[in-house]
């Protein structure tokens, strides 16, 4: 029962995050690319319930901020200009779920006030909006790339493990090749043959494809190991003794054994692939400015001056943490579930 509760919690949290990201335009108060150049490196906007005079307001509000004369990022609140936070406001236009044009936003404040929940970056772009939009790229690219790598990996690994002989030998050598080749240079070459102009959708497919295809080696080797050891198990030997075909054994006995491995791999690969996108962007193969992605936003925060001067720039690095924990939790829960099922079946 406890396990079931945990499972449901993790799943609903992950579904919520993905929905949030899918409806990024609605959730984010601003557009991801709008540069508010008079508000560069603004620290997170303070949301007040008490005004300067000490009076309490039921509706949360913010003050209009402006840059101090001569300062670089010293913004002061103007007590004479409060702006209440409104829900379901009109703002920048966007495509809801990538399809329906809309101007409706979950929350916002009226200009000239700004609601930068997580501060702004060097161009005055809202970090909160960018993180929400960035999740679109990162979560789905990471997830799809991990799926792709796993599908190839499990297929190749189980075929290699189940067949043995020259098939095994060939697949394993190819996987080693994929792990050993200096991809940086090959990606440079790939960049050279591709056109400079790429729309975001093809860039997205490219990112998923490149990351997924390059990283199937490791899961394939792990899966092969599991399948190899599984082949020698008594019940598999017995099935073979009763005349079960190779495909049947693979499907019925060997592949189910790799599921828990595949799931843990998934939980490990997704976060890694989200960061891998940074390298691709560096080479001009990624999503690229002004489209945000978590990888690129984290990369931005790795500079010395950002770390010492603008602490809110580190927030993009913290946001993915609960998401990654969620993935790990999901993988754990699924594995336990599967194992208990196997055990249950075994007891019977």
């Amino acid at each position: 029962m406890r396990q079931r509760g945990k499972f449901m919690f993790v799943v609903s949290a992950l579904v919520a995050v993905h929905l949030l990201v899918l409806f990024a335009g609605f959730v984010a108060p601003y557009d991801y690319a709008t540069q508010d150049r008079d508000h560069a490196y603004v620290h997170p906007t303070r949301v007040h319930l008490m005004d300067c005079a000490g009076r309490f307001h039921l509706r949360p509000f913010v003050y209009v901020t402006s840059l101090q004369e001569g300062a670089l990022s010293d913004y002061r609140e103007d007590c004479s200009q409060p702006a209440p936070i409104r829900f379901f406001t009109r703002g920048d236009e966007y495509l809801l779920a990538g399809l329906i044009p809309s101007q409706l936003h979950l929350f916002g404040v009226a200009s000239p006030a700004r609601l930068y929940l997580l501060g702004t970056d060097e161009f005055g772009r809202d970090q909160f909006s960018r993180i929400v939009y960035g999740g679109e790229v990162s979560l789905f690219a990471g997830l799809l790339a991990a799926l792709l790598a796993l599908v190839i990996g499990v297929l190749a690994g189980s075929i290699a493990g189940a067949s043995g002989g020259w098939v095994d030998e060939t697949i394993m050598r190819v996987s080693e090749l994929f792990m050993a080749v200096p991809w940086f240079y090959l990606l440079l070459a790939l960049r050279a043959v591709l056109p400079l102009k790429m729309d975001p959708v093809s860039a997205f497919i490219l990112v998923v494809g490149v990351i997924g295809v390059l990283n199937w080696g490791q899961p394939a080797r792990l899966v092969r190991g599991v399948v190899l050891s599984g082949r020698e198990q008594n019940f598999v030997q017995a099935a073979r003794g009763f005349g079960a075909g190779r495909l049947y054994i693979l499907k019925r006995h060997l592949l189910p054994m790799t599921f828990s491995l595949a799931l843990t791999q998934m939980a490990v690969l997704v976060p890694r692939f989200i960061l891998a996108e940074v390298l691709l962007s560096f080479l001009g193969l990624g999503i690229g400015e002004p489209f945000p992605s978590w990888g690129n936003m984290i990369n931005e925060a790795q500079q010395y001056h950002v770390l010492v001067s603008y602490w809110w720039m580190i927030l993009p690095a913290l946001v993915p943490v609960p998401v990654f924990l969620g993935y790990h939790g999901l993988a754990d829960a699924l594995r336990e579930k599967l194992q208990s099922q196997v055990r249950f079946r075994g007891d019977k």
Binding site: A33, T34, Q35, R37, A40, L72, E122, F123, G124, L188, R191, A192, P195, L196, K197, S281, F282, L283, G284, G288, E289, P290, Q303, Y304, H305, V306, V308, S309
Partner: protein, 582 residues
């Protein structure tokens, strides 16, 4: 017995020392520095972004190697980085013939290389023979050629050398700066055997690398550090007669990233930091007092950053680029794009105010050649739209800019991903251009791949680049602006000037090269700048300030806007605190 031998030994040593000092003053023709006289002793540590590739002055062409070599070697005539004008170095004096072709140099007498061997005209002759040798492809050779012909070098006597240029050359003495004089006694054998390009590699024992510079190589630990020690035979003294350099040791640590360099500087591991980004400058500023260092803004650098459209005419193979070039070739299009760019915002956001808006490739950091009459470009979306309209462009209902044929105006901006500032500028330009209806997409790319596209395959629409002039004299950039120049970036490999204004630019540039009078040259070069500000082959953006820092007790520290912003006067640097404290 033993004691007396020791004593006599010491005495003998003392005698030798005395005679050396006396001899030095009697014969040596030393240069007296005008800088503040300091306290000898102490060590200075600085950082390098990568390790040198070679110590060979003949072949080295990367900045780091050249930087080390110029601490160890000396030139005949030197450009003072602070005043930006030439001053005597190994040459005591020189004369220039009336027609500006013959340059006669009197050398300082009695100078010695860092191994104690004497220096005279034979070394000078040997050095130029090596640099001018076609087979060696020395990077110095290009600079020593005028109109495709090398200069001629003759020895008149042991202390006099005559250089004859094939045609009058306006900046003749400036070409000798950073052309190091080689020790003939060590390198002639290698040269005759045809092996000089392999001499003085990173594995050469330090004491075999010999020069006339203020320091000599003491130790090189690959990947970690280079230690230079004081050259006891150096030929400069201060106003009190103390021999320069003051520092006993000059160490360079190899610290690959600027962020890491900042941390090392903050921790006191290095005492000088050069080429700071504005971001890091701002981050370090508040700690100046507590950490006892001082940051300097030396003013606008000689680096010009620009947006450039592809105007090459060999792009037929690439229909997409070729199609867009009809926009790019229209000067009104370029002017409109220029007007759409909010340069003030770039200065503010990318450089935190430590940069200057540019209108030509001569930055305000260049005191002698900057054309004040040309007004900096003004940001005006209205003016941009007017210019687009006059060039036949229009807008559709959703505000997108369309050309005459109804095609939406879209292009990519290639930018090197290793340069953070230029990437940021590209992001800002995208937003600026969106305001006038243009969809511009910034494509960051690894820098070598980006350069290959610009110089090699010409497969790009537009790019943001930056060039740092090597010298204030405009001659150093002729290669970019002459239509047949090797780095005529926007249109490479032109046989004849493609446009009337390029033809005029060629004529004026040629003329200023052989004009000897500064005022007349200045007038000609003002014209060059007028042409480029009007025609905008390069749409200039901004020039960053030179930002550096040093421990506050480092004396004679004078950052300059010419390359090697900080350690150019390493021979004059000294510690104000007693040596024991460091």
């Amino acid at each position: 017995m033993i004691r007396s031998r020791l004593l006599s030994f010491r005495l003998a040593g003392l005698l030798v020392l005395c005679s050396l000092v006396a001899g030095a003053h009697a014969q040596q023709d030393l240069l007296v520095s005008t800088a503040e006289s300091g306290i000898p002793g102490g060590k200075l540590v600085a950082a390098l972004r990568s390790e040198p590739r070679s110590f060979n002055p003949v072949t080295a062409d990367d900045q780091v190697s050249v930087g080390i070599i110029s601490r160890v070697m000396a030139d005949l005539v030197h450009i003072n980085r602070a005043t930006q004008s030439t001053e005597p170095a190994l040459a005591r004096s020189w004369t220039v013939s009336k027609d500006g072709t013959v340059f006669t140099v009197k050398l300082r007498r009695g100078l010695k290389f860092s191994d104690g061997a004497p220096f005279n005209a034979d070394d000078v002759i040997f050095s130029f023979k090596v640099y001018l040798d076609e087979k060696l492809h020395s990077p110095h050779r290009d600079l020593l050629m005028v109109a495709g012909k090398p200069l001629r070098v003759e020895k008149l006597d042991s202390w006099t050398v005559r250089f004859t240029f094939p045609s009058p050359y306006a900046t003749l003495e400036r070409v000798f700066d950073t052309v190091p004089m080689l020790p003939r006694h060590l390198l002639e054998k290698d040269y005759l055997e045809g092996k000089i390009d392999q001499a003085w590699g990173l594995n050469t024992p330090p004491d075999k690398i010999v020069g006339l510079g203020p320091f000599r190589l003491k130790q090189f630990v690959p990947g970690e550090r280079i230690v230079l020690e004081r050259n006891p035979y150096y030929w400069k003294v201060d106003s009190k007669g103390q021999k320069l350099p003051y520092l006993d040791e000059l160490t360079f640590l190899i610290v690959p990233s600027q962020d890491a360099q900042v941390v090392r500087f903050e921790a006191g591991d290095t005492q000088v930091i050069s080429g700071l980004s504005a971001d890091n400058f701002v981050a370090l500023e508040p700690q100046q007092n507590s950490r006892h260092f001082k940051l300097y803004d030396a003013g606008p650098s000689l680096e010009y950053n620009f947006l450039m459209f592809n105007l090459n005419d060999d792009t037929q193979a690439n229909a997409e680029v070729a199609g867009k070039q009809q926009w790019f070739r229209d000067v009104r299009f370029r002017q409109a794009v220029s007007a759409a760019i909010d340069r003030a915002a770039i200065v503010r956001l990318v450089y935190h105010g430590r940069a200057t808006i540019l209108s030509t490739h001569i930055t305000p950091g260049n005191k002698l050649w900057f054309n004040k009459a040309i007004k900096p470009p003004v940001h005006s979306t209205d003016k941009a739209k007017e210019l687009f309209k006059s060039a036949g462009f229009s807008w559709n209902s959703s505000g997108k800019l369309l050309d005459r044929a109804g095609q939406p105006v879209e292009f990519t901006i290639l930018v090197s991903s290793s340069n953070a500032q230029r990437s940021q500028m590209a992001t800002m330009l995208q937003e600026d251009l969106k305001q006038v209806g243009i969809t511009a997409r910034a494509v960051p790319m690894e820098s070598r791949a980006a350069i290959n596209r610009v110089l090699g395959s010409h497969d790009y629409d537009a790019t943001i680049m930056g060039i740092a002039s090597g010298d204030i004299d405009p001659t150093s950039d002729t290669n970019v602006f002459m239509s047949n120049g090797q780095t005529h970036l926007w249109h490479l490999g032109e046989e004849t000037p493609a446009t009337p204004w390029e033809a005029e630019m060629d004529r004026v540039l040629q003329k200023q090269l052989v004009t000897l009078n500064y005022q007349q040259r200045r007038k000609l070069y003002d014209r060059v700048q007028e042409i480029e500000a009007e025609e905008l082959p390069l749409i200039y953006l901004v020039t960053p300030d030179v930002l550096v820092g040093a421990q506050e007790t480092l004396g004679n520290f004078r950052p300059a806007v010419l390359e090697q912003y900080t350690l150019w006067n390493a021979d004059e640097l000294f510690w104000r605190t007693p040596a024991g404290k460091r």
